[in-house]
Symmetry: C2
DNA sequence: ATATGTTGTGAGACCGGTCTCTTTATACAG
DNA sequence: CTGTATAAAGAGACCGGTCTCACAACATAT
């Protein structure tokens, strides 16, 4: 079974050149597809290259050209359907433009995000798409720009940072969903998110460090306020980070005196956990509690009842981010733009009509 | 807003060396963390590096060391929960060993897989994890070994190829599930997969080009045969590639004279489609049709009834593949091994007991 | 016939690191 | 006080491409 494997030195242009009896420069022209070479010599070189099984070393190529053809993507969690769909959109658009994609996971941890960014810049990616875990610690993002690497923020914008961003229309989505719930007669609504809770209750919306969540909460709160409903902030609950935490959050909510009749889940993972919590508490949807969930995750369409969701069109968001980044890589003097992908409410069966 | 951005040339060891008034070699020793340098000089260099915001160029580093610190992963479809979970396992283990991961999507297309492999080898990855779309066209996989790049196959093994592989224990899983169904009194069972159907009916199990699917079908068929049930191959249905195709497959199955009382779904995507098909046909689970689904996807636990599944422990599979690859990268003379991750049946509520 | 232009090829610098080899400085033994 | 071992720093080749520049051969213009 002695394959001719071993870790033999790989074939270089110089090897091909020698075999084809031409100079390294000429072989490089043929193999790199640049400059001018006669047809005869081209054939000669190609033949030798094929015979030797030449494979260009992209590393070396990148080093001299200064372009790697790679886009770096830093996401919160690939396992989350939101991100895997986004990554798909990003990759598809990137490939179409001739770029490849390196994905790094931050786990929504700031330090992991920082080191991922460092690493990707070290690899000399041509550009970066980052989902910033927090909006209040952005030195490393400033560094990216300082290093001259094009950057597009994804899902979350940072006003202080003058940089392209592609986000959902989060505030509008929350407003639409909340108005819908109120329109269905609900008066006590709660918003539940997986954001880390900084010591229990939320006192100041402005302190939410994730802009997407903040905007949604702002939208939620504004509608409640506009409808004259009391104490909206009280009904914003963070910290639904895993099933156990979520169980706690939901149990606390429903055991309160004026327990909410409808829940708004900040993402599909939280939504799933809430669904399970309600199930284990023996509460049925929508007769006991109504719910709306962000993201059209696959599970939302097969539950009983199917879940009313906010379709974020994540694939489009990813595609857009990629296209924007490529544009900035290829013709750099470009005005900073903040793109918002509009969302829509998909009414299914998880919201009850109350009162009438 | 004039950031000091521009696309300025990046800071190199030579720049740092000049600033610290030492030789390039010395600065490189400090910055690269190798060789011996006095404490005083080290401080000097570090200070200059910090002042100039030096970032090592990993490309250059890889070129001289011959190691990139990157593992390439070619998967069928990142959007598929199976792969996103696997990628998570792979990344986690890789990071632990000091490697990073580039992910490429093949979309289960052979030519996309080939070009992804080419690209990754070109980038001089230290090793590759590939989920081969087909087991009958493997020249490009041979090329990988020829190029001296360590390779681990994932999810699907290729007997002809003498190379490490990490797979689930597919045959055993199928046997277990099928026996369970028979034990529950089912006599007419069908296996449904998303594999491309090559012209309708399946005539020869050996011709299935995906080893994981083939093994499952083999397990399925062997149990039916052993139980003395007639014409097992008739009940293997391929081509459930999207919702519409699946609707067709299911409709055909249930409208047959001896329609199956239980379905085995080859993966969670197919399972979801089958679930929806049955729903739209007005058939209820498990009273009209029972089903078992491969992979513990999130949707399977929130349906009514919850779906009985085969837990493939995909995260472990990914982790194992990564660890195996790293081992092979770091100490190359290693016997070829084929690792199987055992599965287990998780009984929920989607299988009815018949007869008695 | 010489000047000018065009086309194809070769020589070698360069990208930014690593790493070997050589040189210089310092310590300790004889 | 000289000799040798040892530690620290410098010089420069090298990885495998790209790309500028020089040059040769031949065609066309004057």
């Amino acid at each position: 079974m002695e394959d001719s494997a071993h870790s033999k030195r790989s074939v270089t242009v110089a090897d091909v050149a020698k075999a084809a009896k031409v100079s390294k420069a000429t072989a490089a022209r043929v193999l790199g597809g640049y400059g001018v070479v006669s047809a005869k010599i081209t054939d000669q070189v190609m033949a030798s290259a094929a015979a030797l099984e030449y494979r260009p070393n992209e590393l070396a190529r990148s080093m001299s050209t200064g372009r790697s053809g790679i886009i770096g993507v830093v996401v919160g969690d690939i396992e989350n359907a939101f991100f895997s769909l986004a990554v798909r959109g990003i990759s598809d658009a990137a490939r179409l433009a001739g770029f490849n994609v390196i994905i790094a996971n931050s786990g929504e941890q700031l330090d992991a995000e920082k080191s991922a960014v460092d690493l990707l810049i070290g690899k000399r990616v041509d550009g970066l798409i980052v989902t910033p875990a927090r909006c209040d610690n952005i030195d490393h993002l400033r560094d990216i720009r300082r290093a001259g690497v094009p950057l597009v923020l994804f899902d979350r914008a940072i006003p202080e940072l003058d940089v392209d961003a592609v986000t959902g229309d989060d505030q509008d989505a929350a407003v639409t969903a909340t108005r819908y719930l109120i329109g269905q007669g609900h008066r006590r609504l709660a918003y539940v998110s997986a954001m880390d809770a900084e010591g229990g209750g939320l006192t100041d919306v402005g302190r939410i460090s994730n802009s997407a969540v903040r905007e949604r909460v702002e939208g939620f709160v504004s509608v409640l306020t506009e409808a004259g409903l009391p104490n909206p902030l009280h009904y914003v609950r963070l910290g639904a980070t895993d099933q156990q935490q979520t169980d706690g959050v939901i149990k606390r909510l429903v055991s309160e005196g004026s327990s909410p009749t409808a829940l708004l889940a900040s993402d599909s993972l939280v939504g799933l956990r809430i669904f399970k919590s309600l199930q284990s508490l023996g509460l049925s949807i929508p007769s006991d509690v109504s719910m709306i969930c962000f993201l059209d995750a696959d599970w939302t369409s097969v539950t009983v009842p199917p879940i009313t969701i906010i379709d974020q069109r994540v694939y489009e968001m990813g595609k857009l981010a990629s296209e924007r980044l490529v544009a900035r890589i290829e013709r750099t003097p470009l005005a900073v733009e903040r793109l918002r992908v509009s969302t829509r409410l998909v009414v299914r069966g998880s919201v009850a009509t109350i009162g009438r």
